[in-house]
């Protein structure tokens, strides 16, 4: 339905990227992933438990899915860099969702550390997709550092509040017409996703909105449609907004 999108040389048919956390069961996750039409999913890097009991989480993912490891849980550039290197070794992928968190309560990104880590990781050949605030100037620095895309937040991770600052996304789109902008975190309902795409985002990454919905698979379908709807709405060119009415039917010619 919607046009393709190309990221770091790979063509994706879907502009929806989703997470793998918080699902009530593997079956619920698999059904949601299938319904979403997503072609890439994020996973977290975590210490192997020492009790010997470990099943491979990855076995529960559709093999056709591209896996995007993240550096969630890292609070400084060094931890994020080491986590990225471990992810690359384990998955033989250069792709990394770079996430350096400022504190545990808000999970808001530490832009300064994120930029530092991005510079190092790009230098090591990683394809760095950085999560950061909706900050135009930081976006420029991340792109200058060699990130193939930027991933501004819509709202805090898992908040489901939707796009909190549409002006920032609009400005980012207008000032960086050629950049790939992926809105990451904060989406709660399909209209939130549509709004982000209408503002010109190239794709959206979400987890909680689907995983914590009462019916994750149904919500995944809704998000798939909403991302396509918002994308097409962006391309189709909206009607002008007016405070006042504009008749759809002829004003004259009614009977008297």
């Amino acid at each position: 339905m919607s046009d393709q999108f190309s990221l770091a040389g790979i063509i994706f048919g879907s502009r929806l990227i989703i997470g793998t956390g918080k699902y009530r069961s593997y079956d619920e996750m698999k059904a949601a992933h299938a319904a979403s039409g997503a072609e890439m999913v994020t996973v977290a890097v975590n210490r192997v438990p020492l009790d010997g009991k470990t099943e491979s989480f990855l076995d529960h993912l559709d093999p056709k899915m591209q896996i995007l490891p993240n550096t969630a849980g890292c609070y400084n550039a060094d931890h994020a860099i080491r986590t990225a290197r471990l992810a690359r070794e384990a998955l033989e992928t250069d792709w990394i969702k770079l996430e350096v968190i400022g504190d545990q309560v808000t999970l808001l990104p530490d832009n300064e550390q994120t930029l530092e880590a991005a510079r190092v990781l790009v230098g090591e050949g990683f394809i760095v997709l950085p999560y950061f605030t909706d900050d135009l100037i930081m976006a420029k620095k991340l792109l200058d550092a060699g990130c193939p895309a930027v991933m501004p937040l819509a709202a805090p991770i898992g908040s489901g509040m939707g796009v909190q600052n549409p002006s920032n996304l609009r400005i980012m789109r207008e000032q960086l017409p050629d950049a790939i902008i992926i809105v990451d975190a904060g989406v709660g309902v399909p209209s939130d996703a549509a709004i982000a795409m209408e503002l010109g985002a190239d794709a959206i990454l979400m987890n909680t909105a689907i995983a914590e919905a009462q019916e994750p698979a149904q919500m995944a379908t809704a998000m798939k449609l909403a991302v396509e709807a918002g994308r097409l709405g962006h391309l189709a060119g909206r009607m002008p907004k007016r405070l006042y009415a504009s008749a759809s039917s002829p004003i004259d010619g009614a009977i008297k």
């Binding site: 996973v43 890097v45 975590n46 192997v48 020492l50 990855l58 080491r82 070794e89 979400m206």
Partner: protein, 67 residues
């Protein structure tokens, strides 16, 4: 008798062993995991030749659900 830190936990070994054996010893998974010794990643091929020494800090990671 040596002491290491494995995934944040202290562990005692009666002698130095190579990384390959250590993974067995703790029956850790081998599929899609990665290992770091003293903040440096050790490639899988280098496990047999990597000696785990007293005081080493090891991280063995795999993947879990995330967003």
């Amino acid at each position: 008798m040596i002491s290491i830190t494995l995934n944040g936990e202290k562990r005692e070994l009666d002698k130095e062993i190579d990384l390959e054996s250590l993974i067995d010893l703790f029956s850790l998974p081998r599929k899609r995991v990665a290992v770091e010794v003293n903040h440096a990643v050790i490639r899988r091929v280098d496990w047999p030749d990597t000696a785990v020494k007293d005081g080493d800090i090891l991280e063995v990671v795999h993947f879990v659900g995330g967003g």
